[in-house]
Symmetry: C2
Subunit: 143 residues, 2 copies
């Protein structure tokens, strides 16, 4: 699975006529071995541990490539930071976000997905993607 992401990225690189570089490899490894929903800054720090010479700009650029290649997805919560999450082919999930501690839980619900297409259809829309975020207090913080 991790292997396949690497291969997917290689294929993307080849298809686009881009080049395979040491830096991109490092960023990819850091990304793949990291938690979901990492901010660009978090990733940058992780990358730095492996190679302190890699610059901020490279991390930004490379993460955008990952999104384009379909192995990562940009997400924006309320704060002014772009985060990236892992994309598991075909799978989609939504987020439960604790407003107290910031913990993010993922979930999936078939019924909601179906309702969404239905509603969109009523307006003549064809849904391409959606975003559903529930904000609240998580069990830990409620205690």
């Amino acid at each position: 699975m991790k292997r396949s992401k690497k291969i997917l990225f290689q294929e993307f690189i080849a298809r686009k006529g881009l080049k395979s570089t040491r830096q991109r490899g490092t960023v990819l490894e850091s990304f793949l071995s990291s938690d979901n929903h990492m901010s660009t800054e978090d990733l940058y720090l992780k990358v730095r541990e492996k190679n302190p010479n890699i610059g901020y700009a490279t991390v930004y650029r490379t993460l955008k490539l990952f999104a384009e290649a379909g192995i990562a997805r940009e997400i924006h919560f309320g704060d002014g930071q772009t985060r990236y999450e892992h994309v598991a082919e075909g799978e989609h999930h939504d987020h439960l976000i604790c407003t107290r501690c910031g913990a993010v839980t993922e979930f999936e619900n078939e019924t909601i997905e179906r309702l969404q297409s239905e509603i969109a259809g009523q307006f003549g829309f064809v849904v391409e993607k959606h975003k559903l975020e529930l904000y609240g207090i998580c069990p830990k913080c409620r205690k």
Copy 2:
């Protein structure tokens, strides 16, 4: 109804020990008479038409007050701009966003709302608010 928003804001101002100023009045009028989902910049331009002396910072500050007072709500679509929408007491709606022309349609669906609380409950969460955005192509753009 527009009157009630003004009154709500007055009450908020009083409650917080803040002051009622000409500028705040101007911004409020511009906001109330404007379309939903205006960006701060749009509002700023509208405010300028009425009073070219009002600065950017004041518009920013005042819109935040509106959000605090509960008469406006911040929304963030993908672009890097904060927008504000009108809050009709007790009502909540979600967004259908055309990825081609940017048109925003609002909708409400009781079933989805209920499902959301249900799902959150399964994770032990208590939902405070949520955000649902469907991105797709609107009927006009599909023709």
